[in-house]
Symmetry: D2
Subunit: 352 residues, 4 copies
């Protein structure tokens, strides 16, 4: 039995971790960390767990926790883990970090976009970027620190990855227009996230400045084999869960001067993803909708070739709290401990 | 392995049955019946099942199905099963009927409220009303036909049952004000159920005439030991899933002329439900909210004693597609086949 | 031109007042009071007013305001106006108070339900309860202080009033099950009102203890000619605007031992409301839905006679921010200044 | 008094026309046309008009209508008006057509994208494309036929127009990612538009094939002075009203090799729109949200310069039923009859 501790268990991603781990056959949660609700019953914060979780919330004492568990999930604000981490801890415990602290290899890029100083850059190199479908072979029993990807980034990267990697699109033309449900904004009490403010409206935010941009650029840059710059614009949608990324890029002409066909592109997607349990490449003419992945670890991907403009429109959908956060964290944990990769994640999307 | 067939698999309750049975360890679905989508891939009707269900929809041939499966779930319009059922079928297969055909013992009451002739009244007596928490001992391996309760009725009855049974309230003062998510209205293409018609509004409907009324009256009448008449008013709420029943009744004074206290009433609820896995009696001052049961088989119950009016306000919440339909059907099936009663139903509510 | 000042202009009710008064031909708003946003542009708080309102928010200096305007609207927390009011102010200016401070004649009842001391009880007697359809003749050019009714109370009272007044129902059997959109909870940044907490759920709150209860009891008590006690249970609905009250009461038998008929009850409603512009008594079999009154000053009322139970089910719907708050405040102001009662309020409901 | 007839008065755009025209001082609606509801009370189809509109629905007899009114609004399916129009009608009456029949000058383009034959191409040349802010001087008392622009197109064109016209962006790089509320899908009873299908989801549709694409290309092509091709992708959002268009384009470098600055671009927008009542160019760092224009005729426009990518991200928001349909139709009618352009349209956005 893997003993797990969660720091930040009372945020939405933390609560989703609890939901998933409670159904995981090889895990027992022994620490529900939450600075805001110390000593309160976890099930009084999230009443869906009434009669399911009996524990009370505990403080976020990372060092003590490292003694008591096999794996720590940190679903915490940026800077928290970087400010607490040290070699002693990493010697004792594996960490799956749901924050951005160890996602970006260039610390200067991190500090510029997040506007905070990184307190433990010495661990950045070691951290593995836990996008399982791409970095699976780097996430092993030897790995100590996994940087769990962001919600927008998981969706954005997986949707474009095969076409970037295979050179079918010009990565510098890539424009990502992403739409997210409101749970992505967290459970903090902010006027902007009140029901009446979000309901019956849609808006863009963080235009040209959202922090997931450099993460997407870094990872797709590896695929492209060069540094790239992308446009990324997130939008807030009046729904609880789900991210849809609509991505536009110019197709690269083939040697014969023609654009790759639908079938050629489909073959590339299938080559990368046909064996991937959690990536579903949809049929021709079918496009992702967030309702079909809600509550599950799937990413649904579809695309259209627009011969008029020479562009491909790629679309990806996932549940921001599952594949975009807690689900992928569990998937990473499964890899870290040699469990079956889909253990605890065989969730059928809940509709309606 | 129990082989199951579903008639009406492409309605919302049918699709929820598929979701639950796909995760049931002892069941295999071998027939996805749907008159409207014959020969279409089931996963093209409900794309959440893409790469999960490979089967195509089949016609609703009950006789053929009886040969091939161990249990049939009928998630069909009123009158369908009554019009097709015969002894030959019942000799071969168990049936869990999600329609109202066999819920009401008095055929005249059925015909009056449903305005259709009952075509096989000879099976009404045999049918067991499948409210598991109340009729558990009647649902056995010998049972052939289970009438799965309605969504409003399950919620309404379980919420008031202990107090009616124990004589703490006057059943003739019972007023049930129920609120339901829109999946209860089904997947038929009706203007009244379009997004823009339902969203940003609430309304009562079927005032004084809703068909779940006699079902509630019959069952609570058994508990009261006499015929009773209740007020039942359903409302349509702009959300996908969930029923909340707010129930009002006058408390019966005790021998000493006082009303029963909160603690006395709580003790009664606990006596009936403390051992019930799927009924959660909430703590003092906590009232049910549909968000805390979404996607699960739980019924949450809370209540307040209003000494000013001498009334108790009882509240119950469930997911109309799970405990209110497919979940309870699976629970009944588990009882019919001697499976663990909660098998396939240990679902943690999905929030948010 | 009537010069108006608003204290609490940046709450939802305050903002609705601004919307209505900007379209009122005889009013000019000269003071947008908001303690939280002093010196900020009003249109930067509510961007719907961009290029419409140029003013900045000002402090809530009631005395100064009294010098500068003809009427003050106070859309403020309970206790604010009672704590500031004095004879000097009332000599200079009329006040329409949207808080509860002067609604309840019995100060002990106010202090019990609101749990605050009333700081200026000497003005309670003078204040007119501004339910225009009932107290129209008391709201005149001589009136100095109007207590604008609560949202739930306006809906609850108007729906039952004629039947209570005419003795057609037993007021002590009155049970009011009310449902409100989330704007009724205000614009304060509370976790419980976040989009993800409210969306896809319904709950009761303030069960047996909501502060609108004594207000309803007092007003309907006047109609009944005696003190009455009612059950009132509010619910939170995932929509922005709208209140629906479903009200249950036992019909009083006529001298001949029969219940009043639908037509007899309808005749009573028509007698009270046929000439009322803002009360629409619906046709037989048609029940109120909040979508049909959104954005307008209407109250829609419908009812059903349930001969099985001897009860009448009365239903009323209004927009909580208009007839339930700002619209009724403007209606009161029109009466106070001798304007046409519907001036600025001839708003067609916005659908969808 | 202008006598107006509406063909298609029971669709969402038709009902919005009724709402606007009922408040228009110089108009009287004399014909509520609706093939589906002939002889039914209009207010029984849209109960918000109860006690406001007394008329019953009438058939869509264009010739008879032309005798009786001064202006006809056709809120009808594509092909309807083209199939009925003739010179006799146009001699008698002005027509504002809310369908696409006369929007596109090249009949071959129309027939290709709409997949129907155009039955009266002889009137295409005469029809004026009624985007008032751009074509105001062509919409005069002499104009007989106005092609009212589409909802997506109005938003998409106005948002990009000044920058295309002034050559600040390369129009062939223009990518429009648009999001619409569900009223844009109409009131037809389709499964795909049921509450439970739309709620809690977002999807793209008509990818690379939406019919508003050629309309955008034609109009922005005029601005660019050449034929252009754009990517246009609409999305369905779980809300009633509103369109947000997020538009991406590469900035054209100035003679000195630098990109135009925020201030330079803002100056261009201001030059085009500062005097336009219904176009609001937002302040720096403020982006449009559909909630701020709901129920009004405004288009809100904001933009960000992304120096990293050399692109500008332009955003526009409007209410699809007002500026995107009925409001603009009224604005066109005002121009046709020499009324004040904003008459009947001075609506403050309704929030929340």
């Amino acid at each position: 039995m893997i003993k797990a501790g969660i720091i930040g268990a009372t945020g939405y991603a933390g609560a989703e971790l609890v939901r998933l781990l409670m159904n995981h056959k090889e895990v027992r949660i022994v620490w529900f960390g939450s600075r805001s609700y110390i000593d309160e019953k976890y099930a009084s914060v999230y009443r869906n767990f009434f009669e399911i979780v009996d524990a009370a919330c505990m403080d976020d004492r990372l060092e003590e926790l490292a003694e008591r568990v096999d794996v720590i999930f940190t679903a915490t604000p940026q800077g928290f883990l970087a400010g607490m981490l040290n070699e002693e801890i990493l010697k004792k415990v594996k960490i799956v970090d749901l924050s951005a602290d160890f996602r970006i290899k260039d610390v200067a890029v991190y500090e510029k976009w997040y506007q905070i100083e990184h307190k433990s850059p010495q661990f950045i190199e070691e951290a593995v970027y836990g996008l399982c479908e791409i970095n699976r072979d780097k996430i092993t029993k030897e790995t100590r620190l996994v940087a769990n990807p962001g919600c927008y980034t998981t969706c954005s990267i997986l949707t474009a990855y095969p076409l970037v990697k295979e050179g079918l699109i010009d990565p510098d033309t890539l424009i990502i227009d992403a739409k997210s449900g409101t749970s992505g904004a967290g459970r903090g009490a902010k006027t902007a996230n009140l029901f009446c403010e979000v309901n019956e409206s849609i808006k863009a935010y963080g235009v040209g400045s959202h922090r997931h941009t450099p993460e997407i650029e870094e990872q797709l840059g590896y695929a492209a084999g060069k540094e790239i710059v992308v446009s990324f614009t997130p939008h807030l949608v009046p729904m609880n869960r789900g991210i849809l990324a609509t991505e536009y890029a110019s197709l690269v002409k083939k040697a014969d001067g023609t654009y790759p066909s639908y079938e050629e592109i489909k073959a590339v997607y299938d080559r990368y993803y046909a064996e991937e349990k959690f990536v579903r490449v949809l049929e021709k003419g079918v496009y992702p909708e967030t309702r079909w992945v809600k509550g599950s670890n799937y990413v649904d991907i579809g695309f259209a070739v627009d011969s008029r403009t020479g562009r491909v429109i790629m679309m990806g959908a996932l549940d921001n709290l599952v594949k975009g956060a807690a689900g992928q964290a569990v998937q990473n944990m499964n890899l870290l401990f040699g469990c079956r990769e889909s253990e605890g994640l065989e969730l059928i999307p809940l509709f309606p």
